[in-house]
Subunit: 204 residues, 2 copies
Amino acid sequence: MARTRAYDQGTVVVAAKELFWQRGLEGTAIGDLEAATGLSRSSLYLAFGAKRALFDAALADYLDTFIDPLLAPVEAPQSGLAEAARFFRRLAALFADPRSRRGCLMINTIAELAGRDPTFTGPAAQFVNRYRAAFANALRGDAAQGDRTRREIARRSELLAVSTMGVWLAVRTDPTAAAHSCRAVANEITSWVRADQRPRSRNQ
Amino acid sequence: MARTRAYDQGTVVVAAKELFWQRGLEGTAIGDLEAATGLSRSSLYLAFGAKRALFDAALADYLDTFIDPLLAPVEAPQSGLAEAARFFRRLAALFADPRSRRGCLMINTIAELAGRDPTFTGPAAQFVNRYRAAFANALRGDAAQGDRTRREIARRSELLAVSTMGVWLAVRTDPTAAAHSCRAVANEITSWVRADQRPRSRNQ
DNA sequence: ACCGTTCTGTACCGACAAGTACAGAATACT
DNA sequence: AGTATTCTGTACTTGTCGGTACAGAACGGT
């Protein structure tokens, strides 16, 4: 008993995501969104209620379609050091695409909102913790148990989590250099594999 | 033959720096700057010409008074691994201050402007390179020469540079967790010292 | 004491932001 | 075909932004 929508909501969210990804939340005006989605203000506001709600939908889509596939192998139960290294090599490969200059939508948003928007700070911290947990899972995969290795895993998963955040920022200034950094991190991880394979090595 | 200025320009820059540091370039309005500096628009514009010029002065002051002292020991000729570790422990100590939530003004500005403002992208990349060079200098301090160690130094200085950027972002979401990350990085560096002191260790 | 120059505050400007009102177009059901 | 309901475009409101105009206050040199 009503007119049907002339557009697909998912497509609109994807178009909005691309824009937010490139220009940030504040940097994207409603007019830009109109142009990118082909919809007019009224349709946009009818469908999402507010700019921020559309942004939240775009961010959720980003996490689902971009971050999840990237992180899934690292988070899998059968993950290991090799998978962690592969993660950084995959990032390096991504950074060859000139579009990678836009960085990571989530990291960009943390820089824009964390500490300023109280509703965002929580999810932001959780996102960082997800990286920590993912790498801890990967590092647990190959390692022998024991107090020393447990501390080593904790330490190195912190290191990899903050490194990930760092390269996502570095790619905003120089993708080539950032890709180089990714390969360096991957190589460092690979050196851990070699050290672990040596029986009873005391490279704490 | 003219009226003397009733304020100190340096003091104004410092006050502006504090504001930009906390709220970012776009997030700080001229009205905020009036309130923080005690000056009125006209004085501000007479002295600096534009908001961006005042920001540039604030950023330069930030680098001089905050980043330089922090990085100087790492960049010194007699620097070494211990100095690199100390750098991260110093960051961890800084993060105990609740004001550390504002992060690093330069990193925040990279997130805000890099890739969007063409005049800023260059200096931003240089800033990242400064970290790479500083850590490479520190790592060269203790290491024996040789092809393998040279590659190791290059790899690890990349790792530490991006880690630094990462913790400066992480502190925006959770200072306590970020301090923990800093200590983890410091401990990892310390483990390198121990590995090096072992004669002929092959922890590549 | 005067005067030219510089400083400082208020009021204002045009641009642009997010969001809203409302009229009219398009549809699905009866 | 008629109609209730939803969709869509234009025009508007309200607020804030960076920046400017200009009048008058304050000072240094003579």
